[in-house]
């Protein structure tokens, strides 16, 4: 795959935008700013996906990451108190020796990865294109893609062609990855139930009759009338459903 023309321009714009936004994500003092920079990094990566011909994945990336996961992040940032970091009362990073060691490690990691990639870069050319320059490979691939696009069926409007990319992703997903797909749905169910269980307050745990006995004295100190009411209802044999009314 060799890009050329405007595709190359967009590659550099979005690639550098993703890197800069990623760096700002880990440097920002305010956690909300971090989340917003991460959103721009994810959108830039989605643009790179479009450049690579994976329109469906780019759409999923925007919908799931930006629309779902990042909104979740913003909710949690607003629930917990992160203002100590903002007011510069708390250190942003770990202690200096730890930061120095981490930066050295990451520099080595990045250097190693890039040197391996650049050493292997010449071998990425497909069989028929070995020895050709990048310009020649780009021209050959433009011709091949134009031929492929000419063979596609035209859309009803007549101004564009209907591509089969998303169709082939769906076919491949359900033909070869049916079992992992079902496992993924079970995983999502477990995640829903797990996060609901994890995020309950002690009050809600008491209502579901699922409170850790060790926490009972603490709760009795904090909210005595709540506990006595619940005990009364339990004595009357009305169970957890009634305790929920409390």
């Amino acid at each position: 795959m060799v890009l050329s023309g405007w595709e190359a321009v967009f590659f550099w714009v979005f690639g550098l935008a993703a890197l800069v936004a990623g760096l700002l994500t880990i440097m920002a003092r305010n956690a909300v700013h971090s989340a917003l920079f991460l959103i721009s990094a994810l959108v830039s990566v989605a643009a790179l996906f479009v450049l690579l011909g994976a329109e469906f994945i780019a759409g999923v990336q925007i919908l799931v990451y930006v629309g779902g996961v990042m909104v979740l992040f913003l909710f949690v940032i607003m629930l917990v108190n992160v203002s100590a970091e903002e007011r510069e009362e708390e250190r942003l990073f770990n202690r200096t020796p730890q930061v120095a060691a981490a930066v050295v490690f990451c520099a080595l990691l990045g250097f190693g990865l890039i040197s391996v990639i650049s050493r292997a870069a010449g071998q990425f050319a497909p069989q028929g294109e070995v020895g050709l320059s990048l310009e020649e490979r780009a021209a050959a691939q433009r011709r091949a893609r134009a031929a492929r696009e000419a063979a596609l069926p035209p859309a009803e409007t007549g101004v564009s062609k209907i591509s089969r990319d998303t169709q082939s992703v769906g076919a491949s997903l359900f033909r070869y990855a049916g079992l992992p797909f079902e496992i993924a749905s079970v995983l999502l169910l477990v995640a829903i139930v797990g996060s609901v269980l994890l995020a309950r307050t002690a009050k809600q745990e008491l209502a579901a009759d699922d409170l850790d006995p060790e926490l009972l004295p603490e709760l009795a100190r904090a909210e005595p009338e709540l506990l006595t009411k619940a005990e009364e209802l339990a004595r009357q044999g009305r169970g957890p459903a009634a305790a929920e009314e409390v």
Binding site: S34, V69, F73, N81, V82, Q98, L134, I192
Partner: protein
């Protein structure tokens, strides 16, 4: 034409030739980004994510760095899928299918992880990882 002339002389001219060749290669690499450029972007995103996990104290930002790492892996998968499509197999979308699963796992991980953050904050009143040291002795 300039490269032709420099080949006839010795010493400094040879280094000039080498520089011109390297410069030309870099220029054509910038004008025609190929698979390796996408892999470099992915590797750098991964490195930034690892740095964020190691350097920051705020557990929410550490989670965001993990999302960055997963996205770097996604970028590599999609780039290799496109590479396989261009080398003949038009239906090579296994990389895209795998990316869908990575996005699913990332969403589940974010939901569970943020649930843990909320439970932790409720019990310990902090989100700084160096203050959450119950298991340390």
């Amino acid at each position: 034409m300039a490269t032709m002339m420099t080949t006839t002389t010795h010493g400094p001219a040879l280094t000039l030739l080498l520089q011109e060749e390297v410069g030309g290669r870099v220029l054509s690499g910038i004008q025609h980004p190929d698979l390796s450029k996408f892999l470099v972007i992915g590797a750098l995103l991964f490195t930034i994510g690892v740095a964020g996990v190691l350097v920051r104290r705020n557990i929410i930002v550490i989670f965001m760095s993990i999302e960055l790492i997963l996205n770097a892996a996604n970028l590599n998968f999609i780039a290799f899928a496109r590479h396989l499509q261009d080398t003949g197999n038009l239906n090579a979308v296994a990389g895209q299918v795998f990316t869908v699963f990575i996005i699913v796992v990332a969403a589940a991980e974010a939901a569970i992880g943020l649930g843990i953050v909320i439970a932790l904050y409720r019990n310990r009143e902090t989100i700084f990882v160096d203050k959450i040291d119950l298991l340390k002795w």
